[in-house]
């Protein structure tokens, strides 16, 4: 028995800030002190508090050490593991207290969270099936195969009120029943792990932190719908997730939890991993299946829906990673437990990847119906540097934004749709007063222009034209008529595109136009960017009264746009200025401003 467990985060965030080296050092130091039979080091999935990574948690005390560096490891081993003295200086600020360590789940970041899909992330070793089983893993599958009929499983999923977490919000139980109703010699289950929105990493974290729950859920889905084969379509850019999935599948097969005659029920199920090359459009279900079949990832018109004619022309159920991650808990704890969380029409919880101008960047899971204010101010810790909140972007390039005036909206599928936004897969990017909303719309459009597969004209040409219009506006050449044209084109693209990518691509533009039209107007009428982001609309000026004539800026200017003589106020030649900002950084007297 190991008396102490050291959990080190092995999610992508902490891995890139050196957690593998930290694990190595822990193992070496523990060995050096002769503690290798007493202390176990475990690499887990994401804890969620990515902003404070790398994260190390030491049990049984439950000490949450944040921003741990390799150099800190010997101190933790010597003081904490050998002598039992907690290293106060490395504790996450909020857990520090005079008496004893405050449990992590009582901190502001975790207090309001409810972890269902992420229940094992940061808790178990994802590369050890025994730890998943210790936390009630595979019990849901056993229950389905030994006690429930397929239609009973579907009924439980229906009763739970679970809706697709990939963005659309289609009722999962209903989706399963469509596939189940179709007779065929072969059916498939597909897990969509092609997470492509900029700033979203929910699916990756689930796969990295708890791969077995996806395997379990897909097998349950296979049993319920009559499918015997499954595919996980995951991006090749997620190497840690892929590796852990491979390990998990091999372990499940070894224990007979995948393969032939699972739990003696006569039900067979096999899983394959298919690596995607990272095209955004492959997150669209028909394009994803086309890609699995070995063809170029392009969508096709629906109907026929995948439940009728999906992968290889056979009935197929496709769900997102997070949707699947909820399934084992629903079966194990019952539909009523799941349905007790959330709002009337949106049950359960939702995982969000918090990013942008927020203190606690990371992964959070909240009950549906939590307000944006709670997420940002309480869980997220607010906006850094005392800046003011402007808007939150949800749903990535397919989504919209929630402005300050709607910050108290309870978040669920229908409320977000009602305000012209969408849940999306769960990226939540917070913006403050320094973000220009036109620039944000341009950023996302740039992304969709790159990612449009080119099959249909409205999307291929339309998004390009949209981007050109936005360029025109941000460079100060736009007119008020352009705003109307912009809006008209948006609706045209939405209505005429073949797949979800094109149908939602104009959303960032429409949402910013709706809530921040004044910013667009400022760009076209006053030729000003209120947030000071759009370079073409900025002018650098030297305030003569403040300028001491030190010549520092003139020497720094890379294009020689600043002139003046020593001890006399300088001036900037705006025709030469490239707006690089070097002069502002150089000036010691605050004499240079941009406006």
């Amino acid at each position: 028995m190991y008396r102490s467990h050291v959990l080190v985060c092995g999610g992508t965030g902490c891995t890139s800030s050196n957690s593998p080296k930290i694990i190595e050092t822990f193992e070496a130091q523990i060995k050096e002190k002769g503690l290798e039979d007493e202390v176990k080091v475990i690499r887990t999935g994401c804890f969620g508090l990515c902003a404070l990574g790398p994260v190390v948690v030491v049990y049984p005390e439950g000490c949450f050490y944040s921003e741990v560096k390799v150099e800190d490891v010997p101190e933790i081993v010597e003081e904490h593991l050998l002598k039992g003295r907690i290293v106060q200086r490395l504790l996450y600020d909020e857990t520090k207290s005079t008496e004893e360590v405050k449990p992590l789940k009582e901190t502001d970041f975790y207090k309001k969270q409810k972890r269902v899909a992420l229940r094992n992330c940061g808790v178990i070793n994802p590369e050890d099936i025994n730890e998943y089983i210790a936390y009630d893993g595979y019990q849901a599958l056993a229950k389905c195969l030994t006690e429930l009929k397929p239609e009973e499983v579907i009924q439980i999923v229906k009763d739970s009120g679970l809706r697709g977490r990939g963005g659309g919000g289609f009722p999962t139980g209903l989706k399963w029943s469509f596939t189940a109703a179709n007779k065929a010699d072969q059916k498939y289950v597909v897990c969509n792990a092609d997470e492509g929105d900029p700033g979203a990493f929910m699916d990756r974290s689930v796969l990295e932190g708890d791969p077995h729950c996806i395997i379990e859920a897909m097998t349950i889905c296979g049993y319920a719908t009559g499918a015997t084969e499954g595919y996980i379509y995951v991006r090749a850019e997620y190497p840690i997730a892929v590796k852990r999935l491979e390990i998990a599948i091999a372990q499940a097969k070894e224990l007979g939890l995948l393969g032939k005659d699972i739990f003696g029920s006569g039900f067979d199920f096999d899983l394959h991993i298919k690596l995607g090359a990272g095209a955004f459009v492959c997150g669209e279900e028909t394009a994803l299946m086309t890609s699995i079949e070995g063809n170029r990832g392009e969508p096709r018109p629906r109907p026929p829906y995948p439940a009728v004619k999906g992968l290889f022309g056979k009935p197929t159920t496709e769900n997102n990673v997070e949707t699947f991650a909820n399934i084992p808990t629903i079966i194990r704890e019952g539909a009523a437990y799941f349905a007790s969380m959330g709002t009337e029409k949106s049950k359960g919880t939702k995982v969000f990847a918090l990013g942008g101008k927020i203190k606690n960047t990371g992964l959070v899971e909240i009950p549906m119906g939590t307000t944006l204010r709670e997420i940002i101010e309480e869980i997220g810790g607010g906006i850094p540097n005392g800046k003011k909140f402007k808007a939150a972007q949800t749903g990535g390039p397919s989504g919209g934004c929630i402005p300050m005036s709607l910050i108290d909206t309870p978040i669920d599928y229908d409320n977000l749709t009602a305000i012209g936004c969408m849940m999306g897969s769960g990226g939540l990017i917070v913006m403050d007063e320094d973000n220009c909303m036109v620039d944000i719309a341009k950023f996302f459009l740039n992304f969709t222009v790159d990612e449009s597969c080119g099959k249909c004209t409205p999307c291929r040409v339309g998004t390009r034209r949209l981007l050109e219009m936005l360029d025109k506006i941000t460079s100060g050449n736009g007119t008020l008529e352009d705003l109307d044209k912009l809006e008209e084109l948006c609706y045209y693209i939405k209505e005429n595109s073949l797949c979800g990518l094109g149908q939602t691509a104009p959303n960032p533009v429409l949402a910013t136009l709706k809530f921040f039209r004044d910013e667009y107007v400022a760009h076209v009428v006053d030729k000003k960017c209120p947030a000071g982001v759009c370079k073409d609309l900025l002018q650098y000026k030297i305030i003569a009264d403040k300028c001491k004539g030190c010549t520092a800026c003139a020497r720094k200017c890379p294009v020689g746009a600043i002139s003046g003589t020593v001890k006399n106020p300088h001036t900037i030649d705006t025709s030469k200025c490239i707006k690089c900002g070097a002069c502002i950084e150089t000036c010691k007297f605050g004499a240079i401003v941009k406006e």
């Binding site: 028995m1 190991y2 008396r3 102490s4 467990h5 959990l7 007493e38 049990y59 049984p60 005390e61 439950g62 050998l82 002598k83 039992g84 003295r85 449990p103 789940k105 808790v123 025994n130 730890e131 089983i133 210790a134 936390y135 009630d136 893993g137 595979y138 019990q139 056993a142 229950k143 030994t146 224990l255 007979g256 939890l257 005659d261 699972i262 739990f263 003696g264």
Partner: protein
């Protein structure tokens, strides 16, 4: 794996190895004083004996932890046993042999070994 029973057996075995990570208050905790005074007085063999015996007997719901100086350095090694709903029991001047007896009498059978406690010392 063919039956639910097999799965549950595997779960219980795996769970027993993970009690250290259980932060529920329903656990019995064995806390060994491991400050300089405790270590010098021989706390480490005591700690190891506790983990060894607990594992040997497949005791679930028990964790072994360390703490700093408990304050009565002359009576180290000191071991405190806390269980939900029960008074804390403080053992003093512990040895590996005494630890083995505490595991059997106290942790398994629920009878604190009174003669090893700090109360007995004062009499």
């Amino acid at each position: 794996m063919k039956t639910l029973e097999e799965l549950m057996a595997l779960r219980d075995a795996a769970k027993a190895k993970m009690t250290a990570r259980d932060d529920s208050t329903a656990l019995t905790r064995v806390v060994v004083g491991m400050a300089t005074c405790g270590i010098a007085a021989g706390a480490r063999p005591v700690l190891n004996k506790f983990t060894e015996e607990i594992e040997k007997r497949n005791l679930t719901g028990v964790t072994v932890a360390q703490t700093g100086c408990i304050g009565m350095c002359q009576y180290e090694p000191i071991v405190e046993v806390t269980a939900p709903g029960k008074e804390k029991v403080t053992y003093v001047l512990m040895t590996p042999e005494k630890a083995a007896k505490v595991v059997v009498d106290h942790l398994v059978n629920g009878n604190p070994v009174v003669e090893y406690t700090v109360g007995a010392l004062k009499k």
